[in-house]
């Protein structure tokens, strides 16, 4: 008999416009000691399955059909009181974001002890002893003192360990982990996944691991369930599903995952995703306004060179200089980017890679060092007009597609703004025509112009950002994690788009990512950063095949190994 058995599960969300079926007739089983991966893109209903199991569906969602059995005992029709005894006690849950999963005003000990006492009726002393024991098991050093610390005193990875300890308080039989490592850095991710695997083995717990990350699936799970639009499209052993996918959706999903092991020219298009029409080929970009009249100075040598760039943030202001506390976010970073080259910067969060990008584009003024662009030292120019001349040539695409567009402006105005600011055209009608062409080029179509940003999905918004960045006819584009907020299939489209544009317009690019496979697919050369320092710069292929610096080796080792099916092409 399997531990958890989900049969014919259908979850509905009634709304004014009719009933939205989030999960449709899903059958899943989990065995003791097994990790079942549930994979799919946003909106596929994979989290809803997990929430339905512990009956914490967001209102007004409801289980419309199907049964859920835990060790043969039916749990989907329990009333709230009886269900409370199942939640936490027999089924533990781990959420995505460790930064918000803990009550910030209570010590981790208080939260652990509360949960332990709730389920196990221990007295204060025993509960505390168990809490310390749990913290030890999840690998928190010095648990005797750490237990009295508040969540903000732990790092993200450590907090996720606390969250896991909380989920394990009363030895649950099943653990549902909903994107447990998505918010974490690769090295921390590897540790947490290792921990989850170990716990499953040692305690014989059955785990449902919900994720969108194929790498995580490949590394951790025994079996995989692939979900697409609320339906279970494929279920099988991890090995079989990844190497030999049967369903078309699984095939295209897997082909969209950037491969860490090999560079391919373009991502195969995911035909299963709507709004995936490729950029219009009937527009010849090079002879268009965008490609023409690029009145730039000819540059000999590198287009951009950064010399000993340094950035110091003051973290604590004080009256006397010596009492100030500061953080050196970027320390003496130097590199060159040749014309037409795609240069990658890779590193974990806090490594200073975004700060470098912001100094290059002038959002931050560096504390020291020089940014040389097209032969001019940008940090020395104080004349705004002269500076704008160079600023126009470099544009930036930001990470978060939701907050980087002004929600009160129409797409047309958003894209036209830089054109007007830099006085690229004299007439409004000409600007409008250019905006329409730009929207065609990034694959949105001219009809997008009259809409507002909120009418678009994340991937479409990122296309708007790219259109805006191209509007000044730049020759240098900075992309700061342009796809890390997006699903893999959308990511593949955006990366394809960037590749096409780079080739057709001969753009030079600085591409920042924490995702090594993406870097491998996109970049010609890569710099590895840690703690504000640039540790290694190498040709991409050289770095991936024979990394020199220890940290680069370490990063590559931690990268979830996902090797898709043998490529047909």
């Amino acid at each position: 008999m399997s531990l958890l058995e989900i049969k014919d599960l259908t979850v509905e969300f009634p709304s004014r416009r009719g009933i939205f079926v989030a999960v449709e007739q899903v059958d899943l089983t989990i065995n003791p000691g097994e990790i079942l991966g549930v994979v799919g893109e946003s909106g596929a209903g994979k989290s809803t399955v997990g929430n339905a199991v512990i009956s914490l569906l967001q209102s007004p969602g409801r289980v419309a059909n199907g049964t859920i059995h835990l060790k043969g005992e039916r749990i989907d029709d329990l009333d709230e009181e009886l269900m409370k005894a199942v939640r936490g006690k027999r089924i533990g849950m781990i959420f995505q974001d460790p930064l918000t999963s803990l009550n910030p005003l209570e010590t981790v000990g208080a939260q652990l002890i509360e949960t332990i006492q709730l389920h196990l009726k221990f007295n204060d002393k025993d509960a505390r002893a168990r809490a310390i024991d749990l913290l030890t098991q999840v690998g928190i050093p010095d648990p005797d003192t750490r237990i009295d610390h508040y969540p903000h005193q732990f790092s993200g990875g450590m907090r996720q360990r606390v969250v896991i300890a909380l989920a394990l308080c009363s030895d649950p039989e099943v653990v549902i982990a909903d994107e447990p490592t998505t918010a974490l850095d690769v090295s921390v991710q590897a540790q947490i996944l290792e921990l989850l695997k170990k716990l499953c083995e040692e305690r014989n717990v059955g785990m449902m691991l919900v994720t969108h990350d194929m790498g995580v699936i490949a590394e951790t799970t025994d079996r995989v369930a692939v979900m697409y639009r609320g339906k279970l499209v494929e279920l099988g052993s991890t090995e079989q599903v990844l190497k030999n996918p049967q369903h078309d959706y699984t095939k295209s999903l897997i082909s969209a995952v950037p491969r860490p092991d090999k560079r391919i020219h373009r991502f195969p298009l995911v035909t299963y995703i709507e709004d995936a029409h490729d950029s219009k080929d009937d527009l010849d970009i090079a002879s268009h306004w965008l490609g023409k009249t690029r009145d730039y100075e000819k540059v000999e040598g590198p287009l951009l060179s950064v010399d000993n760039l340094h950035m110091r943030f003051i973290t604590k202001h004080a009256f006397f200089k010596r009492n100030e506390q500061y953080l050196d976010a970027v320390k003496d970073v130097s590199f060159d980017i040749q014309q037409g080259e795609v240069f990658g910067l890779v590193g974990e969060s806090g490594s200073g890679k975004s700060t470098v990008a912001r100094m290059i584009t002038g959002i931050y003024h560096p504390t020291g060092g020089a940014v040389n662009f097209a032969g001019a030292n940008l940090t020395q120019i104080s004349n705004q007009k002269e500076l704008n001349h160079y600023r126009r040539q470099m544009q930036m695409v930001f990470q978060d597609p939701f907050s980087s567009l002004n929600g009160r402006m129409r797409v047309e105005d958003i894209v036209a703004e830089p054109i007007h600011f830099h006085k690229q055209t004299s007439s409004n009608s000409e600007a409008r025509a250019i905006v329409h062409d730009l929207l065609e080029i990034v694959g949105l179509g001219a009809q997008a112009a009259r809409k507002f940003p909120h009418e678009f999905s994340g991937g479409q918004r990122q296309r708007i950002s790219i259109a805006r960045a191209l509007a000044t006819r730049p020759r240098f584009l900075v992309c700061d994690e342009p796809t890390s907020a997006l699903d893999v299939s959308i990511q593949a489209q955006i990366l394809n788009l960037l590749k096409d544009l780079q080739e057709e317009l001969g753009l030079t690019m600085l591409f920042i990512s924490h995702d090594l496979p993406v870097i491998r697919q996109m970049c010609d050369r890569v710099g590895v950063m840690r703690h504000g320092q640039l540790l290694e710069v190498a040709q991409t292929e050289t770095l991936f095949e024979t990394p020199q610096h220890d940290y680069s080796k370490h990063l590559l080792e931690l990268m979830p190994k996902f090797e898709g099916p043998a490529l047909a092409s």
Partner: protein, 325 residues
């Protein structure tokens, strides 16, 4: 923590000095104090002598220093109109205002918080709708109108409660209190309700909004997934997180209740500082106005200091400066 309090104290002193400066300006620039004190037929020599006596011929800085030193001891000179020392007047009026404001602040908190919590937890119950609708009335009706309506209903028509004054008071040292006599308590009911209604609706709406916000957070969801019951989630985890903005607003509101109880005090002829202030304005009684300004500023500064310290008590994230372990 001590360093933090010390820093705040220093800032408070700066604020108080600024207020003292402005108040001092009142004496210097609003009318001539000598003219206010002497009769029509005083000769110029006598006036000059009085000036010398009062130190009005001293340099500006010396005068300001003297004023500040006196103010710190609670000395603001004589009231022009009542001919008694301002400090005595304050001593007489302060207890009335403080009692009224503190009782109504407590009333507002004790009623407003549970109502807000209830409205957040049971979002769709008919009682919540009633609270929300009636709170609109509370926010939109001006205080004086509520006061007059209450007087009309309970004082004039039903004749249950007195409509003005403090009733009998008992003296505990120099502090006069109406809390120990029946008539004093009765007299307190209408004005304190009048003063509390606006604060109560404000607190209720604030608590509700904050609580709804907190109930949507991940740690509440995670708590639910751990099997925690509603009571633990609502009152232990959610309420504490709700408190931070509530403390701010309540602190500021308490300050303004004390400072601006003048409308209520005049409607109910409550012998407090507000009423005194209004009369002082009418009589151009500068020492009284000055004393009132300094005192109110002091109360605001003190409350803000307490609020800041409470923040640090409630929110551990503020406790360690620098934050990192």
């Amino acid at each position: 923590m001590l360093g933090f309090i010390f820093k705040r104290l220093l800032q408070s002193i700066l604020v108080m000095l600024a207020v003292a400066f402005i108040t001092f300006g009142l004496f210097r620039f609003v009318g001539d104090p000598v003219n206010n004190m002497v009769g029509q037929d005083t000769t110029l020599e006598e006036r000059e002598e009085l000036r010398e006596q009062l130190g009005l011929n001293d340099p500006f800085v010396v005068q300001f220093a003297r004023f500040t030193a006196n103010a710190m001891r609670g000395e603001f000179g004589q009231s022009y109109s009542l001919r008694i020392p301002v400090s005595e007047l304050l001593r007489e009026r302060l207890p009335a205002t403080l009692e009224l404001s503190i009782i109504s602040a407590i009333l507002a908190l004790v009623l407003g918080m549970p109502m807000g919590i209830y409205a957040a937890i049971r979002r769709d119950s008919w009682l919540t709708k009633l609270f929300l609708t009636s709170s609109l009335v509370g926010v939109s009706l001006p205080t004086f109108l509520i006061g007059i309506l209450l007087i009309l209903i309970f004082g004039v028509m039903l004749r249950w409660l007195p409509t003005f004054g403090r009733g009998e008071v008992v003296y505990l040292g120099w502090w006069s209190t109406g809390l120990l006599t029946v008539s004093g308590l009765k007299a307190l009911i209408l004005p304190s309700i009048t003063l509390a209604i606006f604060q109560m609706t404000l607190i209720m709406r604030l608590v509700r909004a904050e609580m709804l916000e907190v109930l949507r957070t991940d740690f509440i969801k995670f708590g639910r997934a751990r099997g925690l019951g509603n009571r633990a989630l609502h009152f232990r985890h959610a309420l504490k997180n709700t408190l931070i903005p509530v403390i701010t607003i309540t602190g500021l509101q308490l300050g303004s209740i004390i400072a601006f109880s003048l409308i209520t005090e005049s409607v109910f002829q409550w012998p407090g500082m507000g009423l005194m202030f209004i009369q002082a304005i009418g009589n151009a009684d500068i020492p009284v106005m000055a004393a009132y300004l300094v005192l109110i500023a002091f109360i605001f500064v003190a409350i803000n200091l307490i609020v800041d310290i409470l923040y640090v008590r409630v929110d551990p994230r503020l406790r360690v400066s620098g934050g990192k372990k």
